[in-house]
Symmetry: C2
Subunit: 504 residues, 2 copies
Amino acid sequence: MTKQDESPRPEARLPKGLQDTAAPEIRATESMLATIKCVFERYGFEPLDTPAIEYTDALGKFLPDQDRPNEGVFSFQDEDEQWLSLRYDLTAPLARYVAENFQNLPKPFRRYQVGPVWRNEKPGPGRFRQFMQFDADTVGAPSVAADAELCMLAADTLETLGIPRGDYVVKVNNRKVLDGLLESAGLSVGDTHTRLAVLRSIDKYDRLGDEGVRALLGKGRKDESGDFTKGAGLQEKQIDLICGFLFAKGLRRFEQEGAYSNINTIVGLSAALGSSSIAEEAISELEGLLNLVESAGYGPEQIQFDASVVRGLEYYTGPVFEAELTPSIVDERGQTIRLGSVVSGGRYDGLVERFTGEKVPATGISVGVSRLLFGLQLLGKFKGDAVLGPVVVLVFDKDRMADYQKMVQALRNANIRAELYLGSSGMKAQMKYADRRGSPCVVIQGGDEKERGEVQIKDLVLGAGVTPVDDREEYLKHQAEAQFPAPEADLVAAVKKVLARHGA
Amino acid sequence: MTKQDESPRPEARLPKGLQDTAAPEIRATESMLATIKCVFERYGFEPLDTPAIEYTDALGKFLPDQDRPNEGVFSFQDEDEQWLSLRYDLTAPLARYVAENFQNLPKPFRRYQVGPVWRNEKPGPGRFRQFMQFDADTVGAPSVAADAELCMLAADTLETLGIPRGDYVVKVNNRKVLDGLLESAGLSVGDTHTRLAVLRSIDKYDRLGDEGVRALLGKGRKDESGDFTKGAGLQEKQIDLICGFLFAKGLRRFEQEGAYSNINTIVGLSAALGSSSIAEEAISELEGLLNLVESAGYGPEQIQFDASVVRGLEYYTGPVFEAELTPSIVDERGQTIRLGSVVSGGRYDGLVERFTGEKVPATGISVGVSRLLFGLQLLGKFKGDAVLGPVVVLVFDKDRMADYQKMVQALRNANIRAELYLGSSGMKAQMKYADRRGSPCVVIQGGDEKERGEVQIKDLVLGAGVTPVDDREEYLKHQAEAQFPAPEADLVAAVKKVLARHGA
């Protein structure tokens, strides 16, 4: 290839914030996704797939990081100069899909979708520019019953994945609570810029704490790297009111003592918010939602009100929810990990209206796939399926590839995972290869075996175990089990014997 | 949202060449992918995932349509001005992965990967800008045994999907056959530009026929739309030699009469090609491959030599293969469909070397997922799993949502797919909704039933059937089965009775 010889060799590397996924992680993810799918299907959701690329204007600009170039989204121009973007979530494409196919959909429309999304953001530890989401949304359902159901779905999903009650919590709030609060602080809800800045500041409470949020609500905050984020510009008094309300004792579960009741909390909330119309709406929606989940059998240890939950996405209009794992999670180095929310969502009644001009209520949740898997693995609640490697037929004599291939094919036809050694190395390297592949056994046929119409089966699992040397009889028995001859015609049966030993 | 109110409403539409996928298609695809995965695993391949985005230089430019802007690939610049691209296949990312992780991989390295790829090409009927591929590749295996195995894997995959022997064929050739032919036509194999133009012309034989290919090999060709494609610039004599060889009787299966043997064909090929060193290499590799598949039990009706198979991708260096379905496929309007190849691949020994400078032999196949599914569906060999819709609990009285929600939850807890009607319409529209959802039955509880502690179960499948009106007794029996009361406490059992009627 002359052309390539002239140009310098490219470096084999991935762009920052992107990663490859190896077999064990893929198997674990698939097993988890299958369970989630099962639960979502039980709730009546149907699968939908949309492409990775959409018109930029169809996706809209709802991502938190608006100050960065490209506004958090990977974009490029089509031949006809129209701007295209990679989807940054699965909700914006759903809104486009619903607006485009409104007449032909059953209403309400429940769909789930799983797939990668892309964010053109600064990557960091555990923060990637491509990651997977698993969403369930109900479109065309105005009542809080739809929101309540998504909270229950989140709870059921986590429990079905093996997380016991008490080890997770679905936290519920309503954007209107925040709006009522802004109103009582003398701020206009119509001032979308300030409102957005306020809710994004509050959304960072878990990471930045009281002080950090106060700085962001005020003049601004300088982070560890020295980068300065401009604040929302609120006055000290307004900040006191908002923080005093959101992060006060009695409104957050982990500061509770004794019995907890959602309804008691709501009563307190109602008194604190006052009687503006927006506050009344917030209280009534929250009460309705919590009543529904309670009567369906979900207690506050599963689904509970939390005033500090606001979510960073602009498009939410009513109830917002997020689920987190509550046990303190410790990594391999013994450090406590702040995992963040593993499921999140809310109501977004304006997203389809953007296209059609007509109100189409909608609400949904999104599972952060890799974060949830990571949490499950750290909690020891979820192990990927350990898969035995394939049986490897070794190549003793390169001129007899056809014979060895025939053996491999016989094993495969018996539904045994098997492969022919396809490299060019000698027997020792071939044995090493089989070890690396996690093979339960190898099959060998040299000249002597060929003459006798036999094969040698070497059990690599037994072979790797400690050989008893004290007792000669035991030793010989072990050796005989770890490697034994079999008539070539009985190859499949002999290999099956070894597989049975190791639970396959 | 003031900001959006000011800007005009975006149109809800997808960019050309992209498509949404609805539930039945998704279920069918998933079922097919699960089968393919099973066969690939049986051959010892392990899953790998790579991200959608790669550095443009890491992917290289190997796509056929080099004359189009952006060269067939979606590209955009990262913050640091480096060019990124969406992957156009799964082979180029594998080469990057292998080069990057060479030391840590078992060698040979067998991996499979399934996922979408993107081509910035002119879309057409059945030709999309995002489509799914399912690849299996063996890296680090220099021998034709690896190529032979991939041909067997293709055959096994198609048979496991329900395509009987004789209804598919895996066609095999070798790029070196073409090179030998070019040499004997007095052309230099080192002239990559002409070589590429020639093989891409030949690759279009199925679509353009003898005359079209001759035009492309010569001065060029004007297509139906009037677009002119420049030709490879060969002389009439050279074109005669190449076409005479590739498309001659006796070298293509469908023009054969009587018994067919791969080896007889090779003998003929050998005589035709002459004795250049490249021709000898080609013959020896082809013979080796075909001997191996034959001794593993695959006859020429499954895997056979076909001189006209060249594949359009530049990076192939040796054996090339493609599998197609042979029955003539007719669509709903009775028109014969030219499906093209459903599996294709070949050896690409230079792709990892691009990065490392060291030879790393590699070979692979790629399943065209949607084309194969389309073919299977048209052949009637494959039906997606028909899934019963969820049981719908209707909302008779909006104030009693909590009661209805409880019923839904009871059904779900018994692992029954169930949903609460979440819209705001009346009973008639609710029944219509349940019909559209394919519900087996609905659950109704009005005031009277509530008083009696009962629910009404309405079997929608029975209800949709013809009611016998001749026989009063039969009529009443049918009516009683189609709708019946049950104690609220027996809700789950009553619904299960209906589900059992309909095979769920």
